[in-house]
Subunit: 120 residues, 2 copies
Amino acid sequence: MSVVNLAAMLARFDENWSPKRIARLNDYDVRIVKVHGEFTWHTHEETDELFFVLDGELIVQLRDGDDVVVHPQELYVVPRGVEHCPRADVKTSILLFEPSSVVNTGDAGGDLTAVVETLD
Amino acid sequence: MSVVNLAAMLARFDENWSPKRIARLNDYDVRIVKVHGEFTWHTHEETDELFFVLDGELIVQLRDGDDVVVHPQELYVVPRGVEHCPRADVKTSILLFEPSSVVNTGDAGGDLTAVVETLD
């Protein structure tokens, strides 16, 4: 593979809640996603999920806990089995690290379920 | 876990070539490391290794290829089995994603082999 520049990758799409694969590491993906507004409540029963905020501000709402606010250059891991709903009140870009098998909506499904396109 | 701020974590140590674990995701680690100078030639036979440069400039020297230069906000994955030797001509900070079992010097061992401390 070649070097992946995050700014260049972020410039290649505009849609929200549609993760793009920018690298693979073993059976894991590095994905970037733009978000604005509220996602859907869901759970990943089989895996932790890592959010690393590149710009904007991410609020990880937790069913059984206080909201977690994640700023640029901060990361947060949602443990497996924890119901959560991401929200962004401003346009926000996030890097995700998770198994390649992860579906963005977890157990919830629905219209926001995205096929992960590869940018290369 | 709580939110992890990269700048705050980087401020907590100065030594080079000694990765610190700042988060776990399943059986993977998120590590940060400061580097300056040349590391050691080595190979990870069992895993890919991801370098994400936070500041400075990383040169990934490859035994069988051209040097790869990685700038801040860029990432590069060294595939498993590929012999490499990181080098930084200026002080550089890097975020690593890799299995928790990874030893920094891979098959090479030697004095630069580090025990990974957890910052929390």
